[in-house]
Symmetry: C2
Subunit: 333 residues, 2 copies
């Protein structure tokens, strides 16, 4: 954790950060106590490193009033979700932090505590970072490093015509949680509302499942833009067309309670973002191995469609008719 | 390069970024065309990875009016300088970019071109990134990845009592350049002024020298906070006291022209920041090998002091008397 002398209006704050963040690096030998110019990471023998970065901005990705621990945990988990979708096991992360003037000591302590909680949960640690001041919104970027057996990273490109298309967990819960925060579903039970909002606030990266899919899935990504949009990315990278059977898209009871049992509920779920489930493809011959991976990792997996020759994504209703997505206001791709 | 659907007020801009940045990743196979969730890096056999991150904020580290290519190049070079001081050879970098509302297409094109120039100069490429919008100042963070033979990363900790202390290049030029921008040295020759300002605007990471020092230096860091402050970091990490002979600190003719030949000039140079030279320690027995490394890399190296038992940094004058740094307004450590 370094900071240059030109950007330290409150030296005490940077000392506090050093004190708060050093424990996050204590069990990562390569972090060198966050007192060096760089961190050192030694990949396990026979492994490649997988690296991803995300930037998060106050007022865009989170609000200043959000619980600081949740901001930390969501920022970290969004990156871990990328690693999960690549079949990688997370090792460590780096944090670049631009502190807004409103940040105080209590906020920083709770922010660091959020990282501490999720580090313990996911068995990772802080490898390095940089802290600076900003006159603008709080901004952070997290670089996550994971590893995967050499040559086994699951890419977006790799789906073959004939593959089945799968998705983990349930789709749309995060979007439903956001809808509730925006005023929908006031008649729902409070436990249902809280569960959906929790999925919006704090995703659960599917790390165990992702690691088990390395060697099984032909292509994968995490669902962040929305199931249909992300399958569009996968289809484009792989050079295939993806057909999704709308009735097979797994919706949670909570999302069904909010949006109903009809086609519109499925469409809303399929275009809502921030699920952080894994969407992937694999040959039908591997379906039993995939079901075993799902069982072992405790995350259900549903077959929702297939890859064909062609391009783009098609959503089909129970009668095999295309559902025109443009009419739903979905013009993302 | 990914961006989430919640933060794209100008989709065209993100498409432009994808078009501008894809060529920066074209020769890095693990970048996967910036179309995947993560990048892949395969360390050379027998090598460790060295990772560093820096955040840079408009109005703090650069100005909106600065040439966009220079912002890109300085941001990158500051990170490469960290790798150089660790003895690492740079491989790739990731860019997290939070775009301010004032950014336009021409700015983005020049910004990307700055990266392209320095990628070619240093033989690296873009491994991944993330772009988002910010209502505040332009903010970027760069994560640089390098590699070093296993176990050979040069740390801040490692200096031994009895080691000599060295610094590359000349000290204070960047501070002198900043002083000129603030109005000093109006009587200097324009070429001298321009050369000093150039050192402030665009550091030159000492990569060849740094790589040659792996296995020779016992400890090293890059001079960013200022020579004395950084040697203080090194002394603290190594558990030694460092004595610097002020007359041995190498000042360029330009800095001497600005600040004169006296003791005050040396003190100003020694506490000015942003030199991005390498300060390091090594046993006297390795001095000839170090001089050979300096010759081979084309960067002069000067012996400026020694490590002793104790703590802290002492600056000594030509008579061996301590120069009291507190009187100079230097209260950094």
């Amino acid at each position: 954790m370094t900071n240059s002398n030109s950007d330290a209006p409150k030296l005490g704050e940077f000392e506090l950060i050093a004190r708060l963040f050093a424990p996050l690096a204590a069990h990562i030998p390569g972090a060198l106590g966050l007192t060096d110019d760089a961190g050192l990471i030694v990949p396990s023998p026979g492994h490649d490193l997988v690296v991803t970065v995300d930037a998060l901005v106050e007022g865009v990705h989170f609000l200043a009033a959000d619980p600081p621990g949740d901001i930390a945990r969501k920022s970290l988990r969004v990156n871990l979700s990328d690693l999960a979708a690549k079949g990688a096991r997370p090792r460590a992360y780096l944090l670049a932090l631009s502190l807004a003037p409103w940040v105080n000591d209590a906020w920083l302590a709770a922010f660091a505590d959020g990282f501490a909680q999720d580090q313990a949960r996911y068995g990772i640690g802080l490898l390095g970072g940089d802290t600076t001041a900003t006159p603008g919104p709080l901004t952070l970027s997290i670089t996550a490093l994971g590893e995967v057996e050499s040559g086994r990273m699951i890419r977006r490109a790799g789906a073959q015509a004939g593959d089945r298309v799968f998705v983990s967990g349930t789709v749309g819960d995060s979007g439903a949680g956001l809808a509730i925060l925006k005023g929908e579903g006031t008649a729902l039970e409070e436990t249902t509302r809280a569960a959906l909002v929790a999925r919006y606030r704090l995703p659960e990266p599917r790390l165990a499942l992702g690691a088990a899919l390395a060697g099984l899935a032909t292509a994968a990504l995490d669902v962040s833009d929305g199931l249909i949009a992300d399958l569009g990315h996968l289809a484009k990278a792989s050079g295939v067309r993806i057909v999704v059977d709308a009735p097979l898209i797994p919706l949670s009871p909570g999302t069904r309670a909010l949006w109903g049992e009809g086609r519109e509920a499925v469409i809303r779920a399929a275009i809502a973002g921030d699920d952080y489930e894994i969407a992937f493809t694999a040959p039908a011959s591997r379906e039993s191995a995939i079901r075993e991976a799902a069982r072992a990792s405790g995350v259900p997996v549903h077959a929702i469609g297939r890859a064909e020759t062609g391009a783009g994504v098609v959503l089909r209703d129970e009668n095999g008719q295309d559902i025109p997505l443009s009419r739903t206001g979905f013009t993302h791709f």
